[in-house]
Symmetry: D2
Subunit: 273 residues, 4 copies
């Protein structure tokens, strides 16, 4: 099956490029399943119920979040109601919402999506490696699920690659987010797991990770009281990873990074038949 | 002029792919100047005088380092002797070696190379923004220097993009290293500065940032006493950024990321005429 | 001369115990000069102009702040108007306010007060060691100033002790704050500098560093969306360090920690004649 | 019963002051149980089997460690053999050794000792709050154990106080270590748990947390290649917390901090009858 993962959507620029491009991508790329990280969709900080619906309406199947999961107060009760909205699974027990779900595509194939968060340079959640090991145990790739996609929301390249190498062959894909920069290392690991150190951001790249540059620069330089950060509002670029899996084994056959829109060198659509 | 920046070289795999590819690249790409980050060349940790010479012999003009600058004791006195070996300039005054140099290419054009290190998630050195501002003041792009290349060795994508945006138009390029993963965002910023959030690593990518995966995974999972990290020793991939500048203005005209060898999707050579 | 340093005042409990005790302490201990850290006075976060005045009215001569200096927007312009209000001197140039001042006591003796902030586990300001070295150079202990008090606002015990040992004999006192816990190591270092790793907090100790315990515990345990932190409001304890210096040399002759009020074992007043 | 907790022993200065003072303290204070943190006993880094025996021979009943648990390779297999040597219990499953033990005093009373490590500004181990909750569940204070002593090895005052407040009334004592500085806040919390934010260090206080000052200062100032850290070797000060519990309830009746030897203001022996 064909799965598209879209990296952290930042503000209106990000939402617009997703809404503008995704419906056609679903058709042209014959996408079976779309996962999107929405943790920065609401003016850079978190996501709202209404923005969730907007994403579902343009072709997103599952939304993930990350360290910004709780930024908007109104989203917190929504986690309990909307099973297509995930937050990292390694928050302590009792956190609102769920960290995984099994979803059906249009042809009834089951896809397990799990989001997990890293700890290096981040908050000390439960161990992502052990948590993942535990929660995926009931699922067999190519058995009760056609694919397993792990969204690893993490800062450090070392932790991301360590987790991907540790799960190589056990999941269909480890796709990562949080740094807002696409990595140029999308590939299928030796045992069949698709991997990219970071899928990048959907947003305005003439910015500092999606936020207007002057205020962001000021924080680094002046360290004093400053302007609030707000999303850059130029035309956005959609960044994501396209993964093709083998339904029989659940492993990845091939991957293609996607970059479409302003700011970065575009990839064009992959020519898969 | 054409400048190639090569990302952090890790261990023998990295050194071999650089030595094996660089001489031909210099010819075929008509390179005028080659900068290479060697901070992980000596078995993953630092660099030695002998390895420096090996790099210079295969076509490197200037070596930079980073947070691993002092890992090998024998390199410390070498910094004073070898002006082509740099370390981040924002170490406190009194640190061995120099953080910048002006070098001539074969046609006598002057290139200012400065290495500076980030602070977010790293050690608290002097402010990279203010230090850079101060040290480049004597130089005029397209005046007393044909090009200014800033090697920003940093962890956080936000700090890298903030520095690049802050210096856009004032330097020829801000190329970054340290994460060992190439970013897919190489571009020329609006005011003419070439930028890539990370040039990536020259080394074996079937690894955890160049080191053998099992010991690296173990550190994240077990947190206990474990095996030492050592470089992965499979075939390497060369990663870098090719920058073409305008000698009259010193600004970047275009950039092309390079990925050649095993592990990652190769870029091939850019078709520039 | 006799100098009293009062540790971080947290919320109303802290303000009340200072206001209730300080006037009498000034008389009974024959205090010549009182310095107080007010960075948490305004409901735990920052300080306001009105609270500044309240402190001055009960006998504080100089207020310092710290990492919470800018928490209250209305205090920012006040830094320019109120020379008795300091912020860490190693913020980058251009930060509002001043990091040091020379003040007269009632008998016309000059006291230099400098606040500087640590970097370990904190934000990357300018080097506290080098900044301090530079700014105290115009002053001679027992010469143009009778005393030099350094308020080192820092987290790590190692950094605090390193700075104190580095400046031993060059300043009258290195008194530290920020952890909100008094250390039991107040002493005069070998070359004559008074030192305490932390002067502690003025506030309600039946708390988590001055804040109500349930919400603070919740942050560590649940890591999810939670209640806001607010100051504990039980009776406070005043914590500080009393320093007696020799006017001729500016060095410290003796120190006595003070703890008065609820929560901790009280010290009583030192019996100095 | 009377329990003495001794803070992190650093190097020979620390070992000597413990060996020199403890035998007499056991007699004079009628100590029933002695716990000591030995994580820095071996030249500042870790502990060896031989040093363990030295501690047991002078009257230590249980040794704890901390983040330096694994510093000395030869201690690792020793954890399996020596049940009186503990390491933080919240290392991931599979770590060598144990994080708790139930020990008998001379009169056959059972004492549960648990060491747990903090995460703020430290490595991301398992949650100390939840782990502690889980492991102490089989024990009833004043029932199957006469006392429960939690050694919380942590950096941040906030995390230490949060854990102590969370466990107030459920354990006899939360005594903390790691910062190498005694706090002046030893007390019995409202529901009967003895607490001290840090018990301090047994070692030479004319130092930087027990290490020779020049090399330690140099690390903060120069950030360059420098001398190795080694323990200060002047006369040491013994720092610890004396806890008296009620055997019927297991709660703390009173506490007294102890500081004996060079460097700090000595406490003298408490006058308990
Ligand atoms: Fe994000
Ligand atoms: Fe994030
Ligand atoms: Fe590196
Ligand atoms: Fe590096
Ligand atoms: Fe404070
Ligand atoms: Fe503070
Ligand atoms: Fe220690
Ligand atoms: Fe420790």
């Amino acid at each position: 099956m064909r799965i598209l993962y879209l990296g952290d959507v930042v503000g209106r620029s990000g939402r617009d490029v997703v809404a503008g491009r995704l419906p056609r991508l679903r058709r042209e790329l014959k996408l079976d399943f779309v996962i999107c990280c929405g943790e920065n969709a609401a003016h850079g900080f978190g996501i709202t119920p209404r923005i969730c619906d907007d994403f579902f309406n343009v072709g997103v199947d599952v939304l993930t979040t990350g360290n910004h999961a709780w930024d908007q107060r109104e989203i917190i009760p929504h986690f309990a109601k909307e099973s297509r909205l995930l937050r990292p699974i390694n928050f302590p027990p009792g956190a609102p919402g769920a960290g995984l779900g099994v979803f059906s595509d249009a042809r009834g194939r089951q896809v397990l999506v799990v989001q997990v968060m890293g700890r290096l340079f981040m908050d000390a959640l439960d161990c992502p490696f052990r948590t993942l090991d535990q929660v995926i145990r009931p699922y067999r790739l190519g058995g009760n699920v056609a694919a397993i996609v792990v969204d690893f929301h993490a800062e450090a390249t070392s932790e991301k690659q360590a987790l991907a190498m540790a799960y190589d062959g056990r999941v269909s894909a480890v796709v990562c987010g949080h740094t807002h920069v696409p990595s140029a290392d999308a590939r299928v690991l030796p045992k069949g797991t698709a991997f990219q150190t970071d899928a990048g951001m959907c947003g305005d790249y003439t910015s500092v990770i999606g936020m207007k540059a002057p205020a962001a620069i000021d924080r680094f330089v002046r360290k004093g009281p400053g302007e609030r950060l707000s999303p850059a509002d130029g035309p956005g670029c959609l960044c994501g990873l396209l993964i093709e899996t083998d339904d029989a084994t659940g492993k990845a056959r091939r991957v293609a990074p996607l970059r479409m829109g302003a700011g970065l060198a575009e990839t064009g659509l992959p020519h898969w038949h």
